[in-house]
């Protein structure tokens, strides 16, 4: 947390130095600040911060890729005859999680290829997901958990 504030401060100083206060300059300042803090890691400590930033960046890039892929997927479904579809609603068991985490997970599932969250059980143990192509329900269940739930909870907790 302390390092994150320091990184923000560096981004701010960077924008002041190049005398241009915009989102692009702040992002660039944040990136340079991150690099600087990373170089001086033995002095500032806190290796968990660097791991976390890397995790968040990696997961966001992965999500961006998945969202674009989801749209190509929908486009593909639009042009192919509907006799190829095998849709269905499957139940995905959840790790125990807070409302915020469950909302984020349901939104992420809705925006990623082939899956669409319909409802969550009242006791929050199962998320019902509409899937475009159910080849193997067990496998889909496991994939959804492995690809989205595990990294998301890893970032939000710890």
């Amino acid at each position: 947390m302390r390092l994150f504030l320091g990184n923000l401060l560096l981004a701010f100083v960077w924008s002041l130095m190049i005398a241009e206060f915009s989102v692009a300059s702040l992002i660039m300042g944040f990136a340079f600040g991150f690099l600087l803090l990373w170089l001086f890691q033995p002095l500032v400590g806190g290796s968990s911060y660097f791991g976390k930033v890397r995790q968040i960046v990696r997961f966001s890039l992965f999500l961006a890729k998945e969202i674009v892929r989801a749209n190509l997927h929908v486009a593909w479904h639009v042009i192919t005859p509907s006799s190829f579809f095998k849709p269905g609603i499957i139940a995905v068991p959840l790790e125990p999680q807070t409302d915020f985490e469950a909302t984020l997970l349901a939104n992420i599932l809705t925006l990623t290829p082939g899956s669409f969250s319909v409802d969550i059980s009242t006791d929050r143990r199962v998320l019902y997901v509409h899937v475009m192509d159910v080849e193997n329900a067990e496998r889909t269940r496991w994939e959804l958990k492995e690809q989205y739930e595990t990294p998301l909870l890893e970032i939000l907790r710890s």
Binding site: H77, V78, P87, I89, V118, D119, D123, A137
Partner: protein
């Protein structure tokens, strides 16, 4: 040169946004039932609108417009899927049928007809690879 690059990016994002919105509407038109339609509408319209807002942010390029555009994108990502999810849930509760070729419906019989409480059925998450 920089101005040209900006214009190019604005055009690209605008075009991509329009194409994604077109895909969303075609999807709503083409898909066989409510749930598959909501899939198309939720995914493609969100990305389409996000692309158009990004092109707006690049076109104006000042801090005020950009931060507001970023806020719009964040709120869109938080709310658009929730809206789609509410539509699908309402559809299921009011007995909108799944497409006749659907292969699975593990939601069947899980709703309490009176209270709309949703049971958790039979959860299992074994690794299929053993």
């Amino acid at each position: 040169m920089m101005a040209h690059l900006n214009d190019l990016l604005v055009c690209l994002f605008m075009l991509a946004g329009a194409i994604f919105c077109l895909i969303a509407s075609l999807g709503v038109f083409r898909m066989p039932d409510l749930y598959t339609r909501m899939q198309a509408a939720a995914k493609s319209s969100t990305l389409g609108v996000v692309c158009i807002i990004l092109s707006v942010a690049i076109h104006f390029g000042d801090a005020g417009v950009t931060t507001r555009a970023m806020l719009v994108i964040v709120f869109l990502f938080l709310t658009a899927p929730v809206a789609a999810h509410m539509v699908a849930r309402a559809g299921y509760i009011s007995n909108v049928p799944l497409w006749h070729r659907s292969v699975a419906d593990e939601l069947r019989g899980q709703y309490d007809a009176a209270t709309h409480e949703l049971a958790s059925g039979r959860p299992s998450a074994e690794d299929p690879r053993g």
